[in-house]
Amino acid sequence: METALNATFEVLSFGAIIVLVVLGLGIVASMMGIFNFAHGEFVLLGAYTTYLVYSAGLPVWAGMLVAPVVVAACGFVLERLVIRRFYATPIAAMLATYALGLVIRESVRGLIGGLYVSVPEPLVGSLIIGGVRLPKWRLAIVIITALVMVGSYLLLARTSFGLRVRAALENPSLARASGISTNAIYAATFTFGAALAGLAGALVVPLFSLSADLGVRFLIQGFLAVMLGGVGTFEGPVAGGALIGVMSAALPWAVAPVLADVLVFVIAIAFVKFRPGGLIAARRL
C-alpha cells in the first residue's frame, strides 16, 4: 500500500514536471502556430540563470524568481530579431528556432565547461504523511505547476488579453482590422511562452542538475506531448504533457525500463493514428 502511494506520488510529480515544461511550448504552438525548437534551451536558460544567481551568493529561490524574467527578455529579443520573420513559413521557423537553440546550448556548454553542476533545492527534505514519503521540493513543483496552469488558463480564457491572443490566432486579418496589433500580440505570446520555459527550467534544475543538454530530453517529450494532446487548444498540450509524464514514470514500474521508453512512443503514435487531432482537438477555449 505504501509502495503504491509512493509510486503514485513519484509518477504524479514527474507528470507535473513534464506539464510544466510543455506549458510554454504548447501555448506558443497553439496560439501562434509556431513549433519552438529552442524551447528546451529556454528551459536551459532558466536553469542557468538560477545557477548564476545562486553562485553569486544569493538564495536559490531568488534565482527562480529572476529566471522567468530573464528568459522572457531573451525570448522577446529573439522574437523581434528572428522569429517574427518566419510566421508565414512554419517549417523554416522550426529550423530557425532549432538554430537558435543550438547556439544557446553550445554557449551554455562553453560557459559551464561542459560539466554537470548541482543546484540545491530551496526546500530540502521530505514530509512523511502516513508512511508516504513526499520530498518537499517535488511537492512544491506539483503545487506550483497547478497554480501556473490555472493562471495561464485564466489569462488566455478569461481576460481581454487572452481574447486578443485567440483572435490573432483564429483570423489575423480580421484581428488587425479590429484594431488589434497582431505583431505586438505575437511578441507578447512568445515572451510569455519563454517566461514559462524559464520558470520550468528554474524549478526543475535542482532535481536534474545543470548541464547543457538539460533541455534536449524535455524537448522530445514536449513535442510528443503536444502531438498527443493536439495543437490549437490550451488544454490539449497540458493533457498530453500529463499523459506522457505519467506514462514515462509509471511504465518502468511494470515493464523493463528500456522497453518502457519505447512503449511511451508506441502508445502515443498509436493514439494519434486513431485520433489525428489529438486528445482535445476542438478549438474551443
Binding site: 553542476v117 542538475s209 521508453d261
Partner: protein, 411 residues
Amino acid sequence: MDEENGDRSAAPTMNRRCVLQSAAWMGGAIATGIGSWVIPPKWASAATPIKVGIATDLTGAIGYAGNANANVAKMVVKDINNAGGILGRPIQLFIEDTASNESVAVANVRKLIQRDKVDVVLGGITSSMRNAIKDVIVARGKTLYIYPQLYEGRECTPYIFCTGPTPAQQCDEFIPWLMKNGGKRFALPAANYVWPHILNEYARKVIEKNGGEVIFEEYYPLDQVEYSAPVNKIMTNNVDVVFTTVISPGVGPFFKQLYEAGFQKRGGGLSCVYYDENTLNINAPYEIEGLASCLDYFRAVTRDDPVSARIQAEYDKEFPGKILFSAGSAATGMYRGLKLWEVAVKEAGKLDRDAVAAALDHAKIFEGPGGPAEMVPGKRHCKMKMYTAVAKEGNYEILARSEGLVDPKEC
C-alpha cells in the same frame, strides 16, 4: 595599484619572435583546417621532428574530458622536448578534434594519418569512438594506436595498446572491499550500452565468487532521468550495495532519488567506478556522501605520493581552470600512454611500427599519476596501481590502495 602596473609590465610585448611564433601557429591552424592544431616544438634540430597525433573530443558532450586529454598531451610533450626529445629529435604535436561524434572523427583522424603522417595516435574516449577510428589508424593507416580511457576490455586488436583500467582492475579489489564495508546484497542499475553490460558481467562474477548476491541487474535508456521504480526496488529488496553504471544525465537524479528515499540513512553503500573529481559536482555533497569509487588516480593520492603531487601541480600551473586532470576522463591514461610510448621508442631506437610495438609490449614507467605502470607482455594492456576512494563532504578520501600493480586480465 602597484600590482596592476607590475602585471602590465610583465605582459609580453609584441616583438619579432612573438610575431613569428604566432604567425607560425596561425599558419599551422589555417593550413590544417578547423578543428586541427599543430604545436611545433620550441627548438628545432637537423633531424625532422617526430609526429604525435592526438585525436580527442575537444568539443561536444564530453569536451571537458577531451580538453583534459589535449592538455596532458601538451604538457607531457613539452616535458619530453625540454629534456631533449626522443632519439635526439623533437616532438611535434598534431591535435585533431573528434567532436564527440564518430562520423566527424573518422574524417579528422584520416587527416592525421594521410596528410600529417603521424608516427602514433593517442586518443578516443568512448568505446564507440575507439571502434570508429581504430580501423582508420591501425588497419588502413598502419599506425600505432594508444587508447587511454577506462573501458570494458576485450580490445585485442594488434597494434592497439590500452593504458586505462579494465573491469578486472576496477572490480578485483573494489568489490571485496565493498562487501566488507557494505554488505553482500548487490544491485546493478546500469545505463544501456556496451561498457555497463560487460563490466556488470565481470562484476557479477566477482560478487558471486566472494559469496555475494546480485539482487537485480537492470538497464535504463541513456537519457532516462526518472528513477523512482528502480529506487523503490532497491529499498524494498533491502539491497546493501548499489554498484551503478548509470551515466549523466541520469546519474544525478538517480542519486538524488536514492538519497531522498533514505538509502544511505539506512546504511546502504553507494558505488560508481567512473566517479572522479569531475562528477563530484553533479549532486549536492550530502546526497553522495560515502559514495565509493575505484580508479587509477584521485587528486587525494597527491597527499602521500610525491610523483603524483608533482604531476598534478605541473598540470594545475599550466592549465588552471575548469578542465581537471582526472582519471575518469582518460587524462591519466593519456599521461601513461605517452610516457610508455616514449620509453618504447627509445628502446626500439627507431619509429618503425613493428619495432615500437615490440618494445611497447613490455614497456615500463616508474613515475606516473598514481604510481608506476607497466605493459603486460603479449596483452597490450597496462598494469597499474588502483585506489578505492570515498566521497566525504565533496572531496575524496583514499580508503584502500592495491598492494602492487593490478593485472588488467585482458586478451
